[in-house]
């Protein structure tokens, strides 16, 4: 029951790679029956008894796998996104449960500041490139090349569960975000030095 809830609550943050993994998992699950050798394994398939059992079995397995993936996924770094226009995809999601507790202070400001800081840095880099290279076609090409080097997807999910507690302070912080920001700043500064603005 709890795992069901967990699955449902993570869904609204809709993350493409997660779905990809899930579907992938399911496909593996369906290359199934060794007895009758069916490869066409629609869930209603009735080729043989074994097949039917397998399906029931798989159904349960699938669900199990889904939950597993959801829990494991936050550590995965997915590169090679199709979208060319985002330098870095950073997704930060926080879920905080407070239950049967009082006087709890939750501070997630740090993460929010970080996200906006990252956006400003990306904007600044695009700005410098656009100003420095008057020809808009080429400036776009240059930013695309840069993006290809720095294309990183990061997904961060924090779940905090506070139970039966009094007078606690929780501060959340996304360390990956801090690294991203450092990299972007370095890129911006180097860029600016190279085109001789500083």
């Amino acid at each position: 029951m709890t795992s069901y809830k967990r699955h449902d609550t993570t869904n609204p943050f809709g993350n493409k790679s997660k779905y990809f993994y899930l579907r992938d998992k399911r496909k593996h699950g369906h290359q199934c029956c060794q007895d009758c050798g069916t490869t066409n394994c629609a869930p209603g398939c009735n080729q043989c008894d074994r097949c039917r059992d397998e399906h029931k079995h798989h159904d349960r397995h699938d669900q199990h796998n889904q939950f597993e993936m959801v829990e494991v996924d936050p550590n995965a770094t997915v590169s090679q996104e199709g979208g060319q226009y985002a330098f870095m995809d950073q997704e930060s999601a926080e879920i905080i449960w407070v239950k049967e507790s009082c006087d709890i202070t939750v501070d997630s400001r740090d993460t929010q500041i970080g996200v906006s800081l990252q956006a400003s840095l990306q904007l600044a880099i695009a700005l410098v490139l656009n100003i420095a290279i008057a020809d808009s076609g080429r400036s776009e090409a240059v930013s695309q090349d840069l993006m290809q080097y720095f294309n990183a997807d990061q997904i961060n999910k924090q779940k905090i569960f506070i139970y039966n507690t009094k007078d606690a302070t929780v501060t959340t912080r996304d360390t990956d975000l801090a690294i991203n920001i450092q990299v972007l700043l370095q890129l911006l500064i180097t860029l600016v030095v190279m085109v001789d603005i500083l």
Binding site: D110, I113, G114, L117, S120, L121, A124, L127, V128, I131, A132, I133, A134, R138, A141, V142, D145, L146, Y149, D167, A168, T169, V170, T171, R173, T175, A178, I179, I181, Q182, V183, L185, Q186, L187, L188, I189, T190, L191, V192, V193, M194, V195, D196, I197, L198
Partner: protein, 72 residues
């Protein structure tokens, strides 16, 4: 104003430099040409912007070090 002032960089400076240089080269962007494109005013503005961002990042990173919280 050197690029090393925020010293704990994620990558070595040279790496980033070579990378940008390579990208410029591949797209026929010459630094000399770029310099002509930017007026002094724009230079001033960009300079301020970069300084500003750098300060903000420093601030952000400092905040990180202070938050070694112990929970009760």
């Amino acid at each position: 104003m050197d690029s090393n002032s925020s010293n704990h960089n994620a990558f070595p400076d040279k790496v980033v430099k070579v990378m940008i240089d390579d990208i410029f080269r591949r797209n026929n962007v010459k630094p000399e040409e770029v310099k002509n494109n930017i007026s002094n005013e724009q230079k001033q503005m960009l300079q301020e912007m970069v300084e500003d961002l750098r300060e903000q990042v420093d601030q952000f990173n400092k905040g990180e070090k202070n938050t070694t919280k112990s929970d009760e």
